[in-house]
Symmetry: C2
Subunit: 587 residues, 2 copies
């Protein structure tokens, strides 16, 4: 079993030293969320992640859920762990106190998301989609629906799903065939097949609240005719008690490469009772509330799995003796592999990416809170735009780099990384879903380039580039070399942005062929920006915790020397255009 | 099950149009290996790969070998397939006719290695190590040993293994503990434990010939005291018949992420009878005969798996409808995803890497033959040096890019790439061993930089760079733009080489921290060189097969525009040195 120690110290550093954001500070409801409270929460969260959740990873991988006589039985130990998990109130962490939640901001809950992802992604997914469904219902549901469903979901007694994909459509929801027939009482009967439904069915909760995209029989074709429906597994009676089984059944559980303990289901809806959420034919918009927050969490999954992969690599590198280092320390035999320059390079690559991502994510969590809770609509909108811009970046970059990092972890472990014993290969397999689900990383890149850079009201990317420029205008001498480095790549990003804005107008294929590269450049620069802020805090507070800050400063140095420079090649190759790609005849 | 059509046309193009190498042509023994004969062989090889071997991949993955009462039973169907395989003589393809082989050059057998790797790597491994052991015995064994063991191995009735790794040592064989006690009759008794032994035990063959590294009781510590021993599973009697079981038993079969049908064993040697191969205490040298050829084959495994991943991606992209292309073709609904610029980019990335690698590998196969069979010792040595130089490059680059390509294949397949149905995720898992075994890719990079660039007799890399310069001095106008591109990166490689040669002398850690980057730059330039030769042949023969050559020319164009430029970032970041890496305190 891999080791895992939740990085509470780094999280508290971010919370204490990078929280001071004017607009975030203006949010009334989080004034009382102070450092002591957060530290207590994170320490408890660390305990439950390390002690309760971590051991579930291996057992679930070896014993995936089974579909027996129409019932999905989760892996051994999952039910007991889930009961403890909800008993301690963990589902409710970020939920509205009105429905029984603890009302913590995303700046805190994102840390918990990371810890759970490190410990066991499969287990996490059972509660993650509940939060997703909660967020969607909270924003788009009627008061009646909210009062009826949310308290039980916040408590964790009922869970949630997102039912989008069908055999003919994943990315392209305009093609979906599930239909909704309106009944005389205003409810709908939903019929159709949904596939790849995470936590689609299981025995952990008394009820499952499906949020289903379907087309009302009188709605138009394409994406403009899709509505969103709440479809419970068991009908909820007026008094809140559970009634009869609804017309939803589980066709099968997918056999997958990773996250095997997560029940990914084929769900068949057969005239199931459904209740419309949000306006008719605006289902995609409503679902995107859920999707966007969820996409950030998928990015955090990549970060969490990277963290545990790093910790195990570091630990192994300190123990495994193999080969003499260039400056051999051992007289006889071999040195610990951490003495080898190449292993150190690999470890620092992981560490500099992980800590940069965590800092970037913290900033994004703050922006998310501003976008949801600031009193000024204009401020809210601006934050919302930044969140929209960075969502595909965080989703894609963190998950792609998660593959890089789990792969490096395997290499450091050698043959022991490929066998089942140490659990490293499971991290690699489990993380491999993250670049795929919630929209493949290429879909994210297209979303970024074609929808997020510029909206009809605003030039978001321009604002964001200016924000970086302002925020890295720092006088501290010691940071100047890195600011200079970042400016070099910021300049490349700016040129790339100008190029891509032109192409979006008159040569869309050029933009499409470049979108993955563009996303990477934006992500690398955004992470560089985050590192500059970490450096600023580190130098400011240096004397109070020299070892910690020296570690940060050196890790940042690696990022600027060896990671950020990847940006240039993406730019240079992308601007070769797409004519030769589009002209190619694939015979 | 994935589809697979062996790329015989591309292979025959290489054989017909890129074979004309002066020194290769001087090898007497292959004069009769003509185009018609090779085409016949490859077509038969394609059939057996597609029809007999391909279906074994999925069944073996689902039913790995089992250890029952000390006997390793291979996956269902493997025994029958293996019998057919050896009946048709496929093991003997490249072996010496003196021992029953067909005497085909590596230029031909490497194509077959690729096909088998595409079809089912696990199955391939059962015969691959036999060839490895055959090569080692052929070079270092006494006539008595050769006559006793080789004919049965060439026939495929007996198989072979390489027993190097022990729990305390993979890379660093100096640490090995297995011991060999000399007996009065000159034989040895071998005791110790070997792990990660590919095809270490199984029921496909009557006998298994283990080549085991062990330390004679009177030999010194470290690498200078290691000898090589032949240790048969069953003692072979004077008359060639099998006698009693030798003291080798199977401790367990490893559970692995991929190549599950390959029995990776823990072998316990308990006073097993062993016969020394090659000179005492020179076991590592003898084993490296086997290792080096084997490493090239591991590179070819990465190429083969890349090819099948590409074929399936292309086929899926032509059928899967999702989203409208920028220049939408469909009036209603969605376009085939091959219409999307980003998918096309991804497919061309795969294709341009695969075809470039295949051409590079063909050149390397020729060099290998020259190194083994040329009549002039000087010519032999030069070819041998080139092979030594390129071996770690091919092993590492092809396998790393194999991960990139199988990963892209998963992304193109979306959720269907992560589930078991289509077999794409298995390609990804199976290929993942290739950057690890036969020395991790980092070990290859260190080997390249510290041992292969310059030997005590020669500046190999300098010779190789000159060879490229000479060979790309081509007058054909249409190739000039690509020659210019290659020259730009050749210049970078030259600078990088100068830098790294200096660092090897006075700052080894800088070289260690840079060695992976250096390997990649060398590999990218070497593949660019191969593409120039493909272009030269394509323009020369253009009118005879326009469609085929147009495809080549456009694919090359992609390589030079989008793949080769990766080299620059490797150089720029690597020369930032290692001080900040070595100084880092990993607390």
């Amino acid at each position: 079993m891999p080791i895992y120690n939740a990085p509470v110290e780094d999280m508290m550093f971010l919370f204490n030293k990078l929280r001071n954001n004017k607009k975030y500070n203006e949010i009334e409801k989080y004034k009382e969320v102070n450092s002591d409270l957060v530290k207590d929460i994170l320490e408890e969260a660390a305990k439950i992640s390390q002690n309760l959740i971590l051991p579930l990873a291996k057992s679930g991988d070896e014993n995936p859920p089974k579909l027996e006589n129409g019932i999905v039985r989760t892996s051994p130990g999952y039910k007991e762990a889930y009961e403890k998990f909800i008993e301690d109130g963990w589902i409710s962490l970020s939920c509205d106190p009105k429905y029984g939640g603890q009302g913590m901001p995303k700046t805190v809950s994102a840390f918990f998301d990371e810890m759970l992802s490190s410990a066991c992604l499969s287990f996490k997914l059972y509660s993650e989609l509940t939060i997703g469904a909660y967020n969607c219902i909270l924003k788009h549901g009627s008061d009646e629906i909210k009062n009826k469903y949310l308290p039980k979901m916040v408590e964790g007694k009922w869970s949630g799903t997102m039912c989008l994909t069908e055999p003919v459509c994943g990315t392209d929801l305009g093609l979906l065939k599930s239909k909704a027939e309106e009944q005389s009482d205003g409810t709908y009967k939903i019929s159709g097949q949904k596939i790849f439904i995470t936590s689609g069915d299981h025995d952990l909760t008394e009820n499952i609240i499906h949020l289903v995209l379907a087309r009302a029989t009188d709605s138009p074709k394409g994406t403009k005719g899709i509505s969103l429906f709440l479809v419970p597994k068991f009908i909820v009676k007026e008094d809140g008690n559970l009634g009869t089984r609804n017309g939803v059944s589980t066709g099968s559980i997918e056999e997958k490469m990773g996250i095997k303990a997560s029940a990914t289901c084929v769900l068949n809806f057969d005239e199931a009772a459904g209740y419309m959420i949000g306006p008719k034919n605006k289902g995609l918009n409503s679902m995107f509330t859920m999707m966007n927050l969820e996409r950030i969490v998928v990015g955090i999954q990549g970060l969490g799995i990277s963290e545990i992969a790093y910790q195990n690599s570091l630990s192994y590198a300190k123990e495994r003796k193999q080969g003499k280092a260039n400056n051999a320390k051992s007289e006889n035999g071999a040195d610990n592999i951490i003495e080898h320059a190449d292993i150190r390079r690999s470890l620092l690559n992981m560490k500099s990416i992980i800590e940069g991502e965590r800092a970037l994510c913290f900033w994004l969590s703050q922006q998310t809170e501003v976008s949801l809770n600031h009193s000024d609509e204009k401020v809210k909108q601006e934050a919302s735009d930044f969140v929209s811009l960075l969502t595909p970046v965080v989703k894609s970059m963190f998950t792609d780099l998660g593959m890089e990092i789990t792969s490096e972890a395997m290499q450091i472990h050698g043959g022991y990384g490929f066998t089942k014993d140490l659990g490293i290969e499971q991290l690699y397999r489990d993380n491999r879903i993250t670049p795929i689900y919630e929209g493949t990383n290429s879909v994210q890149a297209a979303d970024l380039v074609f929808r997020k850079l510029v909206t009809k009201n605003d030039d978001i990317i321009d604002k964001y580039l200016n924000l970086i420029k302002e925020e890295i205008n720092i006088s501290e001498d010691k940071i100047q070399p890195h600011i200079k480095q970042l400016n070099y790549y910021l300049d490349i990003l700016t040129k790339f942005t100008t190029w891509i804005k032109e192409k979006i107008k008159d040569s869309k294929d050029d933009a499409s062929a470049a979108c993955n590269d563009y996303l990477k450049v934006l992500g690398l620069v955004a992470t560089g920006h985050a590192w500059i802020k970490v450096l600023e805090a580190s130098f400011k507070d240096y004397d109070n915790n020299k070892d910690f800050y020296e570690d940060k400063i050196q890790t940042a140095n690696f990022y600027f020397n060896r990671v950020l420079p990847r940006a240039e090649n993406h730019f240079k190759t992308a601007i070769t255009g797409s004519k030769y790609i589009m002209d190619f005849k694939f015979n």
